[in-house]
């Protein structure tokens, strides 16, 4: 009991003194490394697909990481709240890149196809919906937005993340040719992290 009870707060104490910019910087490393490998032809035989998939995965990973912040505070009393925005914005940044790669490198601006694909393919509709849902969330990620919107409205809006992460994970599962354990584990993680919020707050 004693160790566990002091471990969290002790970490939180250290965290409080850290600036947030290293999180942004560190979060850009995997994406930067990926883009570097793409530009230097190190992404294998089908670089567009690899780049597209890896960016989508990074987005999902950062989104899931941002959803771990509250449970960590609740269960382990580790306070990483000050990094949550960075994690969320990194996730959004990777999602934008994922979408851009799909538009410009994969479908290569075949606009009629792009429109038809988003409407016709459920996994793309779902992925696109996740992106759209995150637009207002990202747009209100700055400090002033909480004040101008009011904390309650801001919080409600940001619950869209719960829907988006589930859609993102489903999008991942659905694009596989056969059931893949990896994508199912991501869906399980997303379901778990969102599900515990439902248990915490019964009435929204």
């Amino acid at each position: 009991m004693g160790a566990a009870a002091t471990f969290g707060p002790r970490i939180s104490g250290v965290v409080r003194k850290l600036p947030t910019w290293p999180v942004y910087l560190a979060g850009m490393v995997p994406g930067g490394w990926l883009i570097w490998r793409a530009l230097t032809n190190q992404l294998g035989m089908d670089p567009v697909k690899t780049l597209e998939h890896e960016l989508g995965l990074l987005s999902l990973q950062f989104l899931l990481a941002s959803l771990c912040v509250t449970p960590l505070l609740r269960f382990a009393r580790i306070n990483l709240l000050k990094f949550r925005k960075a994690l969320g914005l990194l996730a959004f940044g990777y999602l934008v890149l994922h979408f851009l790669v799909w538009l410009f490198l994969d479908l290569q601006m075949r606009w009629s196809t792009i429109g038809a694909e988003i409407v016709k393919r459920p996994y793309l509709t779902i992925g696109f919906a996740a992106f759209v849902l995150l637009l207002p969330v990202a747009a209100t990620s700055w400090q002033g937005a909480v004040k101008s919107m009011g904390a309650l409205a801001w919080q409600r809006l940001h619950r869209l993340v719960y829907v988006a992460v589930l859609l993102g994970a489903v999008h991942f599962v659905m694009q596989e040719k056969v059931w893949s354990l990896e994508s199912l584990l991501y869906l399980a993680a997303a379901t778990l992290l969102v599900g515990m919020r439902f248990l915490w707050v019964r009435s929204w």
Partner: protein, 298 residues
């Protein structure tokens, strides 16, 4: 009389095609700027992909589901000696050694487009022989309407078959007229070298106007049957994969468009081209499907 539309003469010297790659890359960049898709016809002068591309980017789920798995995991498979069971409605059924089965059928080069159902493509210089020669040798009996094929299941060397990703053994089938068509070959080599394990050693089917999954690898059984067999992907998801699986830009896979394809090795830009009806072999094979609804028989 059938004449393959691609021969050794169509193979461009490396220096020239490397140069052309740059032009194609430039065209690709241009097409981004202008929004003009690069049609497959623009690449009519087909150049085979490199040995490395052909042998390291494979779908062969028996050896793992990632594209690099087959090359990495298939090297312990021993394909000599190799036995192929021939059964069903044939005059000479039996368990043949591969050498006996092929006998004196000469091999020739066939440079074919290869279009995966996942919407990527390559051009591959196969070495092989027309399947009809093999079928005539074993003697197809009246009443046989289809040919069914099976891939080996070798749990000692195939990691993938330990998991029920698909219903092993992998199965495929062709209607008899498709099997007898001169474009349909059994391949035993690529670039005049023995076909590598990851590409389906020691012998695989190649049906260039159909999606790649029809071209079953590492064959251990050939059966002449009366009824249309169920192929593995159809068994796995009948709404997504049919028996015929002809390359058709107008009939989409439920989850993605088949109207265009990414050419492997074309880089980050300009890698997408329009998909051709019957993968560019419409002149040779369209007559096989006259009167059939290709949307239903996908």
């Amino acid at each position: 009389m059938f004449k393959p539309d691609l021969t050794r003469d169509d193979v461009t010297p490396e220096s020239v095609w490397l140069n052309r790659r740059q032009i194609i890359a430039a065209l690709g960049a241009g097409s981004i700027a202008g929004g003009l898709p690069l049609a497959a016809n623009a690449l009519e002068e087909l150049e085979p992909h490199t040995w490395e591309q052909i042998t390291t980017y494979n779908n062969f789920y028996e050896f793992g589901t990632s594209k690099s798995d087959p090359a990495e995991n298939s090297q312990d498979m021993v394909t000599d000696p190799w036995t192929v069971k021939v059964d069903g409605l044939v005059d000479n059924p039996g368990e043949y050694s591969l050498a006996d089965l092929i006998g004196d059928i000469p091999t020739e080069e066939r440079i074919y487009r290869f279009r995966c159902v996942e919407a990527w493509s390559m051009v591959i210089p196969w070495n092989g022989f027309e399947l009809n020669k093999l079928l005539n040798k074993v003697g197809v009996q009246d009443g046989a309407g289809y040919v069914a094929f099976e891939t080996a299941v070798l749990p000692d060397v195939m990691e993938g078959v330990k998991f029920p990703i698909l219903d092993w053994p992998y199965k495929e089938g062709l209607r008899l007229d498709e099997a007898m068509h001169p474009l349909t070959i059994m391949a035993t080599g690529i670039y005049d070298k023995p076909i590598p394990n990851q590409n389906g050693a020691p012998m695989r089917l190649v049906v260039p106007w159909k999606y790649g999954f029809k071209s079953i690898k590492t064959i251990v059984r050939i059966s002449l049957v009366a009824e249309q067999p169920v192929n593995t992907w159809q068994h796995s998801a009948a709404n997504e994969y049919g028996f015929f699986a002809n390359v058709n830009p107008e009939v989409d896979h439920p989850r993605w468009s088949q109207a265009s394809e990414r050419v492997i090795g074309a880089g980050l830009f300009g890698s997408r081209i329009d998909t051709l009806m019957f993968n560019g072999y419409a002149d040779q094979v369209a007559s096989l499907y006259e009167g059939m609804d290709l949307r239903k028989n996908f």
